[in-house]
């Protein structure tokens, strides 16, 4: 019954920001109000509405950390009696679509949206987001300088924060210390991919249902393309040269993709073409994989006795490299206010609470330290209880600190981002390319054919960036 309340508020309570609305938006609102819907849609009859206060609509991705926020929201509402939070929770791909659509088209349905470092700079550049720097600077104790530097930078445009990190991650290599020791193998602290491949082949033991290495194979720009892109980068490959010519058939990319898919086929997990983050996590936690290159956040469940059989037996090495100094990716789920929101102050109050130092301590104390959203603040890693509870804390902080989205590969590129390109077409382009990669992993296509098709997809996109 939250829905009519939102509607009524939109009509009656006008915040100052309202005046800044563009004429088009105003016209749109009038049209919407005149349409037959407004009268009936109101479903006004069903809604009870609590009169006072502001209701903010928050669009979030359904993941465990956000479920914790939802669970703890009554505490926030108790402390801020004027603000009610209503959540729209959706699966990741649907959430992404709805949020993108709403923000890009000036929809007014959301006051807070959950986005990432992929969307933030692009949308800030388009003027779709509210500059949060002034809010962050004047909120006592918020301390935006405490956000881990690469995360903070990746959520900024022209030095100003446009979204605030709820959670951050990079990638590293997780390995079974006991399995390596049993074969008298050692893992270098900063391994190269060749070393990792050699170790994986030695550790691969199908007879005992242990895969040498687990890598994502399932398509999706946020699935197999994330680790693969870091491999392409460190092999010296790139998506585009400075003139926006697609470079996916270059020898470097061909070699990298051949390496990744070849490694999966010779020493990877069974059913690799349908294995993603979740499946690899299960394999590793059940002791069915010796190495796993994936998100830093994965360690949380591997070190949780409730879900893992390998607690305390995992070592952490930095993301393997070839020709670059570092290769880990950088990702952050963050909260932003769309420029169309009419409840900016209330929205900020909520965001500031959910991304504050206090929230992190609050979650840790109330729900347990494994529930703490990692990778956003340096201060999180200075909490003694957290450091004690999480063996992976230090490697995680180091990995995030080393990520370099400005210079992802050897040669210069016209885009930023490690495992993605900061162009709006990338979601789609990346997903289509990732489907080609999966076809290679499944043995349905050759590396060359898959990359030729990918190159064509990329050329189509690149063409729109040339001559401009």
């Amino acid at each position: 019954m939250r829905f009519p309340r939102t509607r009524r508020l939109r009509k009656s309570r006008r915040l100052p920001e309202n005046r800044r609305r563009r004429a088009a938006a105003a016209l749109a609102a009038v049209l919407a109000g005149l349409s037959p819907a407004a009268g009936c849609a109101g479903a006004g009859a069903i809604g009870g509405g609590s009169g006072a206060g502001t209701t903010i609509t928050v669009a979030i991705v359904a993941n465990p950390q956000m479920q914790d926020v939802q669970k703890l929201t009554p505490y926030f509402e108790h402390r801020h009696p004027g603000v009610h939070v209503r959540y729209v929770t959706l699966p990741e791909n649907v959430a992404r679509q709805k949020i993108t659509e709403s923000v890009a088209t000036g929809g007014k349905e959301f006051d807070v949206v959950m986005i990432s470092n992929y969307e933030t700079p692009m949308w800030a550049r388009n003027g779709w987001l509210v500059d949060l720097q002034p809010y962050a600077d004047r909120t006592p104790g918020y301390d935006p300088g405490d956000f881990i530097r690469p995360i903070r930078q990746s959520l900024s445009y022209r030095g100003e924060l446009y979204s605030v990190p709820f959670y951050g991650e990079s990638s590293y290599l997780m390995y079974r210390k006991d399995l390596l020791a049993a074969r008298h193998l050692t893992m270098p602290a900063a391994p190269t991919w060749e070393q990792v491949a050699a170790l994986a082949r030695k550790l691969n033991d199908p007879a005992h249902r242990v895969a040498g290495i687990c890598l994502r194979g399932v398509p999706g720009w946020g699935e197999n393309l994330a680790p693969l892109d870091t491999v392409i980068n460190t092999f010296g490959g790139r998506w585009y040269d400075l003139g926006w010519n697609a470079r996916l058939t270059s020898p470097e990319v061909t070699k990298a993709v051949g390496f990744y898919t070849g490694l999966l086929r010779t020493a990877g997990e069974p059913g690799a073409a349908t294995a993603g983050y979740t499946e690899c996590g299960t394999d590793m936690a059940q002791g069915n994989a010796a190495l796993w290159y994936d998100a830093t956040v994965a360690a949380g469940s591997l070190e949780d006795p409730g879900s893992s059989k390998v607690v305390g037996r995992i070592g952490y090495a930095s993301a393997p490299v070839e020709r670059t100094a570092s290769s880990g990716w950088l990702y952050s789920w963050s909260l932003a206010i769309p420029g169309t929101s009419r409840h900016r102050d209330a929205a900020w109050q909520f965001m500031a609470w959910a991304t504050s130092k206090q929230y992190i301590r609050f979650v840790g104390g109330r729900l347990g330290w494994s529930h703490v959203p990692p990778g956003s603040r340096v201060s999180t890693y200075r909490i003694p209880q957290y450091a004690r509870a999480a063996a992976f804390a230090e490697p995680t902080l180091r990995a995030i600190g080393a990520a370099d989205p400005e210079h992802p590969t050897v040669e210069p590129v016209p885009y930023t981002g490690v495992q993605f390109l900061d162009i709006p077409e990338f979601q789609d382009l990346g997903t289509r390319v990732s489907q080609q990669i999966t076809a290679v992993i499944a043995g349905r296509k050759s590396v060359r054919a898959a990359l030729a098709q990918s190159q064509q997809y990329a050329q189509t996109v690149g063409r729109t960036y040339r001559h401009r």
Partner: protein, 314 residues
């Protein structure tokens, strides 16, 4: 949602007064029809004109100022896109399988229901239920309670039979989707065929019996030819609806794993609403429409000829 190319000039266009009707009477007769025609033209024809226009543009919705004319390059992208071809094959495979299996089962059920037996009306009522279930629910329901590898009923039955559980939706995505479609559409096919069976004249069947024809011979020689148009109609109507399958795919597999269950509507949806690529999505839409015209014109001819549209009265 667009019209077919062949010969459908709309009668709304002001024409010469009919030889039989006065001009005033002709207009009075058109009046009640005009709101319906107008709505359909606005909602289905005009958008399609824009689809064609957009198909010659490069335009990404989430990239401001990206809109410009590109000629035919969207079309060349569509035709050189292996994923489009995959989606086309998936589309054909999915539609054919679902229509064929549901019609086969539908004929069987119709024959069962054609005879009097205790509780026939009840069985008929139960049987319609799958067709009335919201397709999104059907997808969710089958993915979870029926086909789940651990807790699904189907795997429970397999375990009883001593067979190791199977993760149907990931291992056999196409078969899983088709199963749901068949489950939903068999009742429809059964009802159409049943209507055909029941429209047989009892006299002919009795005559055949008197002539000494056994039940099987009667079925083959009289019933099957009589049913043919009904079966054809069922197949065509089923195909028209099933070509647009989207809900079940969205809820069950999201077109995956990989692209295993990405049919044309789903592929177009991805281009339009995940890629926000107006130009490519539009080109894809035009190509899809062109393809559908073939199927649809056959279907239309069927509707008009097989069952004979009764003449309108003056």
């Amino acid at each position: 949602m667009a019209t077919l190319a062949p010969s459908s000039p709309v009668p709304l266009t002001p024409g010469r007064p009919s030889s039989r009707l006065s001009a005033g009477e002709a207009w009075r007769r058109r009046l009640p029809l005009s709101p319906a025609l107008l709505l359909m033209i606005i909602v289905t024809q005009i958008p399609f004109v824009f689809t064609v226009l957009f198909s010659f543009q490069s335009w990404n919705l989430v990239r401001p100022h990206s809109r410009h004319w590109v000629g035919l390059s969207n079309y060349s992208d569509v035709f050189t896109d292996s994923a489009f071809r995959d989606a086309l094959f998936t589309e054909i495979e999915m539609t054919l399988l679902a229509v064929a299996v549901s019609m086969a089962l539908g004929v069987g059920l119709a024959v069962l229901l054609d005879r009097e037996f205790p509780g026939r009306a009840m069985v008929r009522t139960l049987l319609i239920a799958p067709f009335l279930i919201m397709p999104t629910v059907a997808g969710l329901l089958w993915r979870t309670t029926m086909l789940d590898p651990v807790y699904g009923i189907v795997n429970f039955l397999l375990r009883l039979a001593g067979i190791a559980p199977v993760d149907f939706v990931s291992r056999f995505p196409m078969a899983s989707i088709v199963t749901v479609l068949v489950w939903q559409w068999t009742p429809f096919m059964a009802l159409i065929v049943l209507a055909g069976l029941q429209s047989q004249s009892g006299d002919v069947l009795e005559a055949a019996q008197i002539d000494g024809a056994g039940p099987w011979t009667t079925f083959r020689a009289i019933t099957v030819p009589h049913l043919r148009p009904y079966i054809e109609l069922g197949v065509l109507l089923g195909a028209i609806y099933l070509i647009n399958t989207f809900d079940v795919i969205f809820m069950m597999t999201q077109g995956g794993p990989g692209t295993a269950t990405t049919n044309l509507p789903y592929y177009l949806y991805q281009r339009a609403f995940l890629g926000f690529d107006v130009g490519q999505a539009s080109a894809l839409g035009v190509v899809t429409v062109a393809g559908t015209v073939v199927v649809a014109s056959i279907a239309l001819r069927m509707l008009f000829t097989v069952f004979g549209t009764t003449e309108g009265r003056a």
